[in-house]
């Protein structure tokens, strides 16, 4: 899936609704708007679905190289992850 921002997809959906409800669109246009609407809706749902929870600490060593390691509340010295 292309990198679409959630708010852009949502805005796209709202715009489609607005055009559908306002203008007296042609048949062809109605169909294509509808199709695009469903596509955007699916994208939004997918973005909600695909997120995952992960908590990490970013650390910079003396050479300026970044590493991350998993963070656990109450115990911030857990094993290296990367």
């Amino acid at each position: 899936m292309a990198k679409v921002k959630f708010e852009d997809a949502l805005k796209g959906l709202e715009d489609i609704i607005e055009r559908l409800e306002k203008g007296d669109l042609s048949l062809d246009k109605t169909l294509s708007e509808y199709e695009n609407g469903i596509k955007l809706y699916k994208q939004c749902i997918a973005m909600l679905e695909n997120a995952e929870k992960k908590i990490q600490i970013l650390m910079k060593d003396e050479n300026g190289i970044f590493r991350t390691k998993d963070f656990e509340a109450g115990n911030n010295e857990t094993g290296d992850s990367k």
């Binding site: 559908l20 169909l31 908590i55 990490q56």
Partner: protein
């Protein structure tokens, strides 16, 4: 000279030539005496003739209406002065008097200085605020919107502080599926401001961060001071990633708060601002979709009434029924979304996706799939329902399930 003359004798006693001093000796004596007498004093006066050469020392004259006093602030002390010293400012100083021997001048060596009637930090805050405000750093036009659904949130704060704990609490409370990247920094004391500013710059070099929280828990004005430093303000302003500033409690307003894209009253509020409300987002999506379906429903109704020529077609009844049934189901789901507060039930989410697929099935495109076609007038793009008004040679467009064609009328059947 006559030894009976009393005058030279007296003169000799008063001005003993055995005690002739060099200038240096005298100056040193004066210096010793002054330094002993005028040691560790509080002195109040008005700043004038202030000079700040590149050496880093500061030279000034302290005065009142009747007298003046030369004074110097050496670099090591000058670096600690948080506010900007200016001519005309009333100040309270602490220091000792000494003599600058090569010029034969006495002067006050200032060891600490603060504005009279207002705290030094308070003044420094007001001065920086005024300066940055003039430069436009607080202007709302520079404020970036926060993302609705961030995937990755960076947090610049102390790893052991209250702020990170509060933010993580919000995430757990909301069952949030977000990535949190903690960039641990010193949030108070020497070098804290530089660390915070560097962290903001570093994080801007990482591509996939959607939003950043910069802050710390509550503390005294001194504890929160790093967030009032210019270096932090500048790095927040330069950040391409939207920044939420969350410093201390509600009553503490810092320069960082003013420059940031959004100020959170507390770290907890910062978490609430940034962690998505999945239930609300889903809710609004479902509502939007219901409207989309409603519109299609209306359109199909309209088409149905228009295409009376194909009166008894079973195919045109079916999508109508399906849409109706779909709406009912949507109503149920919406109802459930309202009553459900915290948990996001996986099953329902799957159903939502199923709806999207089913919606495809009721599309007029599916009717076309069964071999029907829609013929429209090329110019008007309206379905042709009657042969009335057609002329030989007129161009028509026909939409099929896959693609379509343009044709011209060769014969008209009444």
């Amino acid at each position: 000279m006559n030894s009976t003359n009393t005058l030279p004798l007296l003169w000799n006693t008063a001005k003993n030539r055995n005690k002739i001093l060099t200038i240096s000796e005298l100056t040193r004596k004066i210096r010793g005496s002054l330094e002993q007498e005028f040691f560790n004093l509080w002195v109040v006066g008005e700043v004038s003739n202030l000079k700040k050469p590149t050496s880093g020392h500061m030279y000034l004259t302290l005065k009142d209406t009747d007298a003046q006093l030369q004074a110097v602030i050496f670099k090591s002390v000058a670096n600690q002065v948080k506010f900007e010293l200016k001519d005309g400012m009333e100040v309270l100083t602490f220091g000792s008097v000494t003599v600058y021997e090569s010029r034969g001048q006495y002067q006050l060596i200032i060891e600490s200085i603060e504005p009279k009637g207002i705290g030094a930090l308070q003044l420094a805050f007001l001065q920086l605020k005024e300066k940055l405000e003039k430069e436009g750093l607080f202007d709302p036009v520079h404020k970036k919107p926060l993302p609705l659904l961030p995937k990755k949130i960076a947090v610049v704060t102390s790893i052991t502080g209250a702020a990170i704990r509060d933010i993580l609490n919000v995430i757990n409370r909301r069952f949030a599926r977000v990535e949190i990247l903690i960039y641990p920094v010193k949030v108070q004391g020497e070098g804290a401001a530089q660390e915070i500013a560097q962290a903001i710059r570093d994080l801007n070099a990482i591509s996939d961060i959607d939003v950043m929280i910069v802050g710390r828990g509550g503390g005294s004005l001194e504890d929160l001071w790093a967030f009032n430093e210019e270096v932090v303000a500048r790095s927040i302003y330069a950040s391409k990633i939207p920044i939420i500033s969350a410093v201390g409690h509600e009553i503490d307003v810092t320069i960082s708060d003013l420059v940031a894209d959004k100020r959170a009253l507390t770290p907890t509020e910062a978490g609430e601002l940034v962690v998505p409300r999945y239930d609300q987002l889903e809710d609004s999506l479902v509502k939007i979709k219901a409207r989309l379906i409603q519109y299609l429903y209306n359109k199909i109704l309209l088409m149905k009434s228009r295409m009376q020529g194909i009166k008894n077609s079973f195919s045109f009844k079916r999508p109508f029924d399906k849409v109706f049934r779909l709406q009912q189901e949507l109503d149920e789901i919406t109802q459930r979304l309202v009553t459900r507060r915290k948990h996001i039930v996986e099953l329902e989410r799957q159903r939502l996706i199923g709806f999207a697929n089913r919606l495809d099935n009721v599309s007029p495109l599916k009717v076309l799939n069964r071999g029907y076609s829609i013929t429209t007038n090329v110019e008007e793009d309206k379905p042709v329902k009657s042969s009335e008004g057609l002329t030989i040679g007129k161009r028509m467009r026909t939409r099929l399930f896959q693609g379509g064609f343009v044709s011209s009328v060769v014969e008209i059947l009444k």
